[in-house]
Symmetry: C2
C-alpha cells in the first residue's frame, strides 16, 4: 500500500523561536493584530507499508530517527492511503 | 474574536527541493521504502479578527504580503476560533 503523510515539526514550548517572533513583529508593523507566530517545519512523505498500523509505526520511527530531534521538537502527523 | 491558524507553505511543483531529496535519500539509506519527501514550512499564527470571514481574508493577505512568496510558493491554511 502507498501512503502519503504530512509531518509537522515544531519547537517544544520553552524554546525561543526567533523566526516566529520576527514574523510576528513584521506583521504587527504592517498593521495586523497578531498575538503570536510560531515557525515550524513540515514534510510530505510518500512511502510504502503493508497496512495502516505498520505505516503509522514506520512513520513514527522515521520521525524519531531522522525527521525530528526529539529532545527539542514536538511532532505530529496525518497519514492517508493513496 | 481570537483565531488560531496553521499555514502550510510549500514550493510549487517544478521547483527542486534539495532538502526534501536529501531527507528521502537518508531515509532510504536507513532502509525505509520512501518514494518522495517534500520539505515545507509551517506557521502557527494567533491573531484577532471580527468574524471568521474577515479572519480568512486577513490571513490570506498576511500570507501574500509576508509569510509566503506567491511566485514560488503554494500555501494553504486552516483557521479555528479559540
Amino acid at each position: 500500500m502507498k501512503y502519503n503523510a504530512k509531518v509537522y515539526v515544531s519547537l517544544k514550548k520553552g524554546y525561543s523561536d526567533p523566526e516566529g517572533e520576527t514574523a510576528a513583529n513584521a506583521l504587527r508593523g504592517l498593521g495586523y493584530t497578531v498575538d503570536d507566530v510560531r515557525a515550524s517545519k513540515a514534510y510530505e512523505v510518500s512511502f510504502q507499508a503493508e497496512d495502516r498500523e505498520t505505516a503509522e509505526a514506520v512513520l513514527d520511527e522515521m520521525c524519531r530517527r531522522l525527521l525530528t530531534n526529539p529532545t527539542k521538537d514536538d511532532y505530529s502527523f496525518e497519514i492517508r492511503e493513496v
